[in-house]
């Protein structure tokens, strides 16, 4: 069995590389889009508290929807391919970032804000110099959660013709090719674990830099 896996990998290296780069392209595009939508939206919600309640409730429902369901409903709307997969993955990654960013920005210690205002800071300065830097670690934690979720759900993009490493698994299932299934499974697992570790490291360095600056 292990030798079969290695032999298959040696013969199909380029296919694995193509699938992996598709997987990364899908995940990175979706994650970037989710960040670009969530962060400004979080700033907006902090300013307009009246919108916040309903938006957060709606996003919480979105968060509950199974990844496969979210991906396949784009089929009738947008057809197959890269774009519908990116749209679905963006929606899937959005809740974790938005909720963390909103919580981080709205739950800063009121004493610290009061101290800033005492020094004559305007609303904008309070946001820029106090709320954003203090909230950054929590915002980052949300991005990490979303990144792992998106990389994970991108595996299912294969079912709607979006490509990625899930395609190796789907093809392996089709022909019941065990080495291919194992390579696909291991590649996806490794990518997800690496994403988690990479972002954890990034989060840790952001946290440390903020601590240093505070000290």
């Amino acid at each position: 069995m292990p030798s079969g896996v290695l032999a298959w990998l040696a013969e199909n290296r380029s296919a694995v590389e193509t699938a992996a780069s598709q997987h990364l392209a899908l995940s990175l595009t979706a994650l970037a889009a989710a960040i670009l939508i969530s962060l400004p939206l979080a700033l907006l919600l902090v300013r307009w508290q009246r919108l916040a309640g309903t938006t957060i409730a709606a996003v919480n429902v979105l968060r509950t929807i199974p990844s496969l369901a979210l991906l396949v409903v784009t089929l009738p709307l947008l057809g197959t391919g890269f774009l519908p997969a990116v749209v679905a993955l963006t929606l899937y990654g959005l809740p974790a970032i938005l909720i963390n960013a909103y919580t981080a920005l709205s739950e800063v210690d009121p004493d610290v804000i009061e101290a800033g205002r005492g020094q004559g800071m305007t609303d904008r300065q309070v946001m820029r110099r106090i709320k954003i830097p203090l909230g950054l670690p929590v915002v980052f934690a949300g991005i990490r959660t979303a990144a792992v979720q998106v990389v994970s759900a991108a595996t299912l993009a294969a079912f709607i013709g979006g490509g990625g490493l899930g395609e190796l698994i789907a093809a392996g299932m089709g022909t019941f090719n065990m080495p291919q299934l194992v390579v696909g499974g291991l590649a996806v697992a490794a990518l997800a674990v690496a994403t988690e570790l990479g972002f954890a490291l990034l989060e840790w360095s952001v946290r440390r830099r903020i601590m240093e600056r505070a000290a």
């Binding site: 929807i65 009738p76 595996t155 299932m173 996806v188």
Partner: protein, 209 residues
């Protein structure tokens, strides 16, 4: 819409299959996570080791885990339930351990002072007080398992995902949409109802303390 009315029996069977899959996995998960959580609650090194191991399992995407289980277990309900159980461990063990650890020390001391043995203390004090946190873990786990069970249809485990995959292979949009809608509704219903249970338990527990 007429398709739904004509095929309600098929949809009902898929829904029941889905529920049985998740209920079985949830029961096995609790049978493993409760003792593991109780055991590691006040042993920090063991707790960290358990979190690392179950954390890696939790990170592996569902389809990848299925692909890796097929050579060992073949297709069907066994690898599906195994994967669902492996996913649940991180959150369930963590919540059991946190629930027990967060009980105020005076209460534990009071129980010891009243001559409670470790088993009686566990059953009468620790588990009842930890229950809201444990139920919170069950809620997250149930929602995750409902989601992962959808993908399990791909390895012939049945359930609502089957409707979705049939829709994809037959290029039949209604099936895809109905399947996606039903799994989403099931996940939302599980989340909301367990949230209600959690809220009631929290209120009852804070009254007792």
């Amino acid at each position: 819409m007429s398709w739904v009315l004509e095929n309600y029996d098929m949809l009902g069977v898929a829904l029941v299959e889905h529920l049985v899959l998740v209920a079985t996995a949830l029961a096995i998960s609790l049978a493993i996570a409760l003792p593991l959580g109780i055991w590691t609650a006040r042993r920090p090194a063991l707790y960290v080791a358990t979190m690392l191991a179950t954390g890696v399992l939790y990170t592996i995407p569902a389809l990848a885990l299925f692909a890796l289980l097929i050579p060992l277990m073949g297709l069907g309900k066994t690898p599906a339930i195994t994967a669902l159980v492996l996913y649940s461990l991180l959150i369930l063990v963590r919540n059991v351990a946190i629930g027990i650890r967060e009980i105020p020390g005076e209460l534990i001391e009071a129980a010891d002072g009243m001559g409670y043995g470790p088993w009686r203390r566990l059953l009468r004090i620790e588990l009842p007080l930890a229950l809201p946190v444990i139920v919170a873990g069950v809620r997250i786990t149930a929602v995750t398992q409902i989601s992962v069970a959808t993908v399990a249809a791909y390895i012939n485990a049945g359930g609502l995902g089957d409707i979705i995959f049939q829709g994809i292979t037959q290029d039949f949009t209604t099936k895809i949409v109905v399947g996606a809608l039903l799994t989403s509704l099931l996940a939302i219903a599980a989340d909301e109802s367990l949230k209600g249970v959690e809220r009631r338990l929290r209120a009852a527990t804070s009254e007792r303390i």
